[in-house]
Structure formats: structure tokens, C-alpha cells
Symmetry: C2
Subunit: 313 residues, 2 copies
């Protein structure tokens, strides 16, 4: 067994786990497969929120207090944009614009999102492999009271207020996994595959919707361990608990395990919730990730559960 | 005769005259026809330096000390861009990016450069009509020792250092004047048509290279008056004098008048140079434009020369 670890991740919560994983494992042995269902074009710019959150988090540039964007960001662009009558519901920081402008430019020149993402990660010396789930366009749409909304309109503009009835991943059926994704999941020497505590419906499901990825996870040689996004009967951040209610689900770890049934071999649950009623292997830990130490601890606990599952095989 | 005035203009020097003209005439009666030969794509963004200089100058946003860009500009974007390995020879300020991003976006949606420029001017309440010389792409190239350079490479990256042998306006033969350009020049009721003290070869010639504009000027009912860019045997700013030398011309008003022969009816010259040897009507004034009062004075002097020419017809 190598020390190689693959992690499926969405936005802020996932990025925290990956940051912890960077100390719990060797960065060069980590592959992060990132949700791109949130990606969209805004003012003509190609924006990949979850990839950017991961880049900022791992490079120490993230604004932790705000939960998105860059630390020390400036807003001169937005001020000028407003003065010109440009759309201002989605905030674009001055430094943040560099990722969007370069990504848009390089994509227009024929580079793939994978290649662009690799260039960004290399420029900031991150060490791990960051793979978009697909180089093809997949767009998460939320069917809510009042009609269907593109993800960012739901998430940012409407602040998750509409009650969600269904979620659709436009383009997923035609999408192919990005180069390296299936190989990372199917790696016979891998130590573990982790699913970060990102929103299972909005952030992980888009990854699973790309044909081939779900099957690869089900057949993965390495143990697949999810870190539950539930802490104390609630989601730490974002609309997970609200969404689960709207989808008619109870907010507990059984619902998370059921959602990932057939894919995961184990679930890491928070000590406030426990694993009562779970039919799969689980470990209990303090999964709240406030400090860097917390993140490393949660990553280590997830790896330990994977190791325990592997040892029992 | 109406009070309508049309002015052909390039960058900084031209924008100063137009700013003076905004007090010497009614803004609603002013049409500025702007050089777009400097326009280029950079990082995928559509950049129109002379239009932007005019927008910034007239809206009070220009950085007068620097001579380009916005007052109070921030540079977070450039810092982030450099960290990602993006090209950094052309400086893009954070606020400046708003014009480029919106222009690029609206052009991609099928709007013309004329329409985009009009939206910007309206958003900032400028009052006058700002027309690009053409909605079609015209790109100034400089043939210099060592090969041909796109204008911005010559002007910004190489700081006008290469000796210029020839100047070419790519695309000009196929370009059409933007809507309103020919009408403004041919307006039978116009008071005057001014040519700003912009570089005749680099900033005004691209305008004249658009088929129909030179002929319209030659046939214009209103007096056409150029403000000479020569002050005290030198150009106030930029490469005009250096360029004239490289093109084998003496740096004097006779050379300017010869360059505009067949187009202009009069030349406003600086008191340091005088009009000796000029075969066309001229007036002498202090044409150095340091303060706003200077700009208004020069605009008024140019209009007075036009009025004198009209009265003598």
C-alpha cells in the first residue's frame, strides 16, 4: 500500500479537510477531485468557485472569517463596475479577478480546465494534484418554489432562501471525468479515498453524476470513507440541514450513509451525533474544524477509519 | 450655424482639449471621434486605451500626474496576476478592469463598440457623444528596427524606444466609420471640426485611414482646425517629436500643416513656435495645457480660429 489519498471535495468545508490532509499525508500523494457544478460564466468570466476556494485555502490566501474569497481583498473593481451599471449581485474581488481572467483567457486559447487548474496550483506551489471532476461543462440547477435557478443564483443571490424541490446537473450525462480522476479512484495501491464533509446533494452529487465516477468509487480497491457534514444534528455551514429538510430527509448520519450507500465503506461521524443505527463501519471524532489542528485531526481520523477498514478485509 | 462641434482625438493630449471644450461649448453639442487603432486584446480583454483615457479625463477620474489610468487606483489584480504567472508588461488597475471586463462582455453579446462606449459615457453622465472612429477592428502596427510591433508593444512595453520606419493600420481598408461619424463631420450646421493635439501619425492617422473619413473632412462644410501638437519645437508628451525625426521630418508647424494638407482649414500654433511659413490661416496662442483653465483657453482659441475662417468665407 502506498500513502496515496484521493479526496472528493466541494467548497469551504471540503477545503478545510484537504488542508488538514496536507499535514496528515504527503501533499505529493494527495489528489483532490473538485466539484465544478457550481462553475458559471459571469460577465463573460469563467468562474470555478470550489476550485478557487481550495486554491485560496491551501495557499493561505483564504478569508477565513468571511468564508469565501481572499484575505486582504480590495474592491475597487466592484465599485467601478457598479458605477458603470454592471451586474453586482456576485462579488468579484480585485485579486480574485486574476484567477477568473487568466482561466477565461487560457480556456479561450484551448486549454482544459484541468490544465489551467494545474497551472494555478503549480504557480502557488501547492504540491498536491487538484483535478476538476470534469473538463466538460456541468451546471447545477436547483428546482425551487418559483422555478429553476442556476446554482449561484440560488446560493449567492437568493442566499439559499428558496425551498428546494429537486437538483439537476445540466450536462452531466455527456460529461467525461477529467484526466486522472478515474485512475486516482481506481488506484490499486491507494491508502484511502475520502469524501469531504461538503454538501452531499449540492457539492458531492455533481461529482457522482459524471458518468464513470460513481462506478469507479463502488469498485475502488481502497476504502472509501466519508466525513459526515452533520455536527450536532445540524450542518456546520451552508444549506445542508435546510436542504435535507426540504428534500424530506431527517438530518442525521443514517440519512448521510443512505445517500452514499453503495459508494462508501465507512463514515466518520461527529461525537455529538454518534453512529447509532449505522449499518457500515464508522468512527466517532470531534469533526468540527475551527483551527488548523482540528483539520489535521479530522483528516487523521478519516484516514485511520480507512486503515481500519482495509485491515479488516 | 449651430453650436455643434466635432473633435477628432487620440489619447491624453486630445482628452485635455476635449475637457476644455466641455466648458468652451455645450457638452450636448460636442461629438468626439476617438482613435481605436491602439485597441487590442490583452488576456482576452478588449482594451480601448484612447476611449478610456477620454472617459476618465471627462469624468474627473483620470490620474493626471501619472498620465494614464485612474486616480486612486489599486493594484491587487496585478499582484495576483503576477503570482499566477500572467503577463505583466501591460498594467491593469483594479478599477480600470471594470471598463475592460464590461466592454469584453457586451461585445461578446453582440453589442458594437459604439453602443458600449455610449453606455459608459451615459453611466458617468458625460453629456457629449463619444464615437469610436469605427466599430470594426483597426490595429496600428509600427515597423521599427528589429521588426514590426503592435502598437501597445511599441508604446508601453518598449516605451517608444525602437526607431520607427513606417506605420500601418491593419484592417483599416475594410473598416467602416462608426455610426454618426460621417454625419458629424458633414453636419452642414456645425460650428467647427477640431483635430486635437494628439500625435498626427499614431493617433489621428488611424482615424483618417478609415475609408470615408478623410474625404468627409476634406468636404466638411464647417471649418476644420487642428491644434498643433508642437510646443516650443517639441512635443509636449509622447513620441511625436522623436517619431517626426525618425520619419525624416523637421519638428515644426509647417510639417504638421503639410501632414494635414487638404483636410484642415486652419492651424492653432503655440506662441513659442509661431506660424512662420504657414500657407493656411493660423492663430497663435499659449497651447500648453497644464490647468483646466489652459484647456478651456486652448479650446476657445481653436473655436475662435474656426469662427474667423467661417466669417471669411
Amino acid at each position: 500500500m502506498s500513502g496515496r489519498v484521493t479526496v472528493l471535495t466541494g467548497g469551504v468545508g471540503g477545503a478545510k479537510l484537504v488542508l488538514g490532509l496536507m499535514q496528515a499525508a504527503q501533499p505529493r500523494q494527495i489528489t483532490a477531485i473538485v466539484n465544478t457544478g457550481d462553475d458559471f460564466r459571469h460577465l463573460g468570466l469563467a468562474i470555478s468557485p470550489d476550485i478557487d476556494t481550495l486554491l485560496y485555502t491551501l495557499s493561505g490566501k483564504a478569508n477565513a472569517a468571511q468564508g469565501w474569497g481572499r484575505e486582504g481583498e480590495t474592491w475597487t473593481f466592484m465599485d467601478a463596475l457598479k458605477s458603470l451599471g454592471g451586474e453586482d449581485w456576485f462579488l468579484l474581488g480585485d485579486g480574485d479577478m486574476a484567477l477568473h481572467v487568466l482561466r477565461t483567457h487560457w480556456l479561450a486559447q484551448g486549454e482544459t480546465l484541468s490544465a489551467v487548474t494545474a497551472r494555478f496550483a503549480a504557480a502557488w506551489g501547492l504540491g498536491l494534484s487538484i483535478l476538476p471532476m470534469s473538463d466538460d461543462r456541468v451546471a447545477t440547477h436547483v428546482a425551487a418554489d418559483g422555478g429553476e435557478l442556476p446554482f449561484q443564483r440560488y446560493f449567492v443571490e437568493q442566499r439559499c432562501a428558496p425551498a428546494v424541490r429537486a437538483i439537476r446537473f445540466e450536462g452531466a450525462e455527456q460529461a467525461r471525468p477529467a484526466p486522472g480522476v478515474i485512475d486516482a479512484i481506481g488506484d490499486p495501491e491507494a491508502r484511502a479515498i475520502l469524501i469531504a464533509p461538503s454538501n452531499p446533494w449540492l457539492s458531492v452529487d455533481p461529482i457522482l453524476a459524471v458518468p464513470g465516477i460513481r462506478d469507479a468509487l463502488a469498485a475502488a480497491p481502497a476504502p472509501v470513507v466519508a466525513v459526515s457534514p452533520i455536527v450536532g444534528g445540524q450542518a456546520v455551514k451552508g444549506p445542508t440541514a435546510k436542504l435535507m429538510g426540504e428534500l424530506g430527509l431527517e438530518v442525521n448520519n443514517q440519512a448521510i450513509a443512505a445517500h452514499y450507500a453503495g459508494i462508501i465503506d465507512g463514515l466518520l461521524v461527529d461525537e455529538r451525533d454518534g453512529g447509532e443505527g449505522l449499518a457500515i463501519p464508522y468512527d466517532i471524532a470531534d469533526t468540527l474544524m475551527k483551527s488548523l489542528d482540528d483539520r489535521v485531526r479530522v483528516a487523521r481520523a478519516a484516514l485511520a477509519l480507512a486503515d481500519r477498514i482495509a485491515a479488516g478485509r
